[in-house]
Symmetry: D2
Subunit: 141 residues, 4 copies
């Protein structure tokens, strides 16, 4: 059973207490999240650090997945591939649009396009795989 | 200057004489191609071999790029990442939809979603980078 | 139970009847294979086609895996990432050295470095994931 | 001209002021770094957060590259691919062993194997590409 935006936001806050990612929208096999950007997210030169973009994509995939199959805390990231395309603006949040390409019994695969808030040209792209816990270990639904 | 669909098809036929990929559409930063599937493309069990899907994605990125920046024979593939999601049908062509995420001076990056002809669920996904020749080595435009 | 080099070679010949990959060595979590190169493997300009290198890496991972866990025909490729580094020689085979990084219950992950036969500088690198069939569907051992 | 371990450590401290990565060894086309792990690096459950491993691999590739071609501040990450294999220990640092596979004029490619300090089984693996600034923009050597 899919989890609501509020359930997912609460779960993300509990699982990733340090994160500055906020859930904006959750759809079937998709979501939009934003990572707020402040001094702590910048590199010298005033651009957003790569790990901030990587963490945002990881959370986006996690959110889309929980929004589709329900909260599954034992879900783990198996692989993540990033391409970095443009320097993000240092004074704008990083927005991540995620769509899931497959949600199978044991694996889910999705992709994420990352933007500087308000700019249509992507700053980075990610694709990732998540291993879902065996049915026997899943939470009661 | 962008190349036309006919120019690209002629170039692909010359560069990849063995390929069974046909160019269906070429747009700005996008294209659709199809790889015909016959006995030679199948694995035991009747599914399309992985290398066929990989070659299709590679050609799709190549076509979209030439359709956007013109024919650049010195363009080389730098990286390709594939995720395989479903077994493709053995009696249908592999259709590849490509969009370029960045076309810079020295690098172009794009992604491809692969389908069995007529089936909306993706069978595979690819993302890749291409190194463009330095301006000094580019063909007269 | 691990499969022998001969068992694996027979399996590869049956599963990939078109392949020109030969198994040279099989160790625990490792192997070396070679893809013979002839006219059919070349691109205009005389270099080995990218899909040939990709297919070689895929087979290498498959061989190392079967050499470690035994022949498991239901094993499927989940993801493959390639980086292309140098133009391979057109008159030498493509040698692939594979080591597995993880062999778990449901997933195996490995990496492959590809060379032109006799040249120490790598021409390409691959990393990939394979989904193993659930224990219930595995062959009698 | 290659940079020394001390020069690189100073550069990393300036470029990534928040990082907890320390440079242990720098060789030709290789390096070893460690990311110290404390409360701030853990996820609920006591394992090291994925972004910590990702940032460690990124810095390792950066260190190996500067150790080989000299300090090039305009170097940018083009792509990074991660595979996550085991849960890292929450009370041990993350050690990264990096080797560069290619150092060309415009691109460098390398791979990283990540371990929990003292444990021989890898927890994660990364491969990445870095774009080097055009010669005209490089620092005086």
């Amino acid at each position: 059973m899919a989890a609501s935006k509020e359930e997912i936001a609460a779960f993300i806050a509990a699982e990733f207490p340090q994160t500055r990612v906020r859930v904006l929208e959750v759809g079937h096999k998709s979501c939009r999240v934003v990572h707020d950007v402040g001094e702590g997210e910048l590199r010298p030169g005033g651009t957003v650090a790569g790990p901030v973009m990587m963490a945002t994509a990881d959370v986006a995939l996690y959110v889309a997945l929980h929004g589709t199959v329900g909260i599954e805390p034992l879900t783990v990231t198996t692989d993540l591939t990033f391409h970095f395309m443009r320097k993000p603006a240092g004074d704008k949040g990083i927005v991540a649009d995620c769509r899931l390409l497959k949600v199978g019994k044991t694996l889910a695969i999705g992709e994420v396009t990352l933007f500087s808030e308000g700019d249509p040209e992507p700053v980075a792209h990610a694709v990732g795989t998540y291993a879902l816990p065996p049915a026997a270990h899943r939470r009661q639904k």
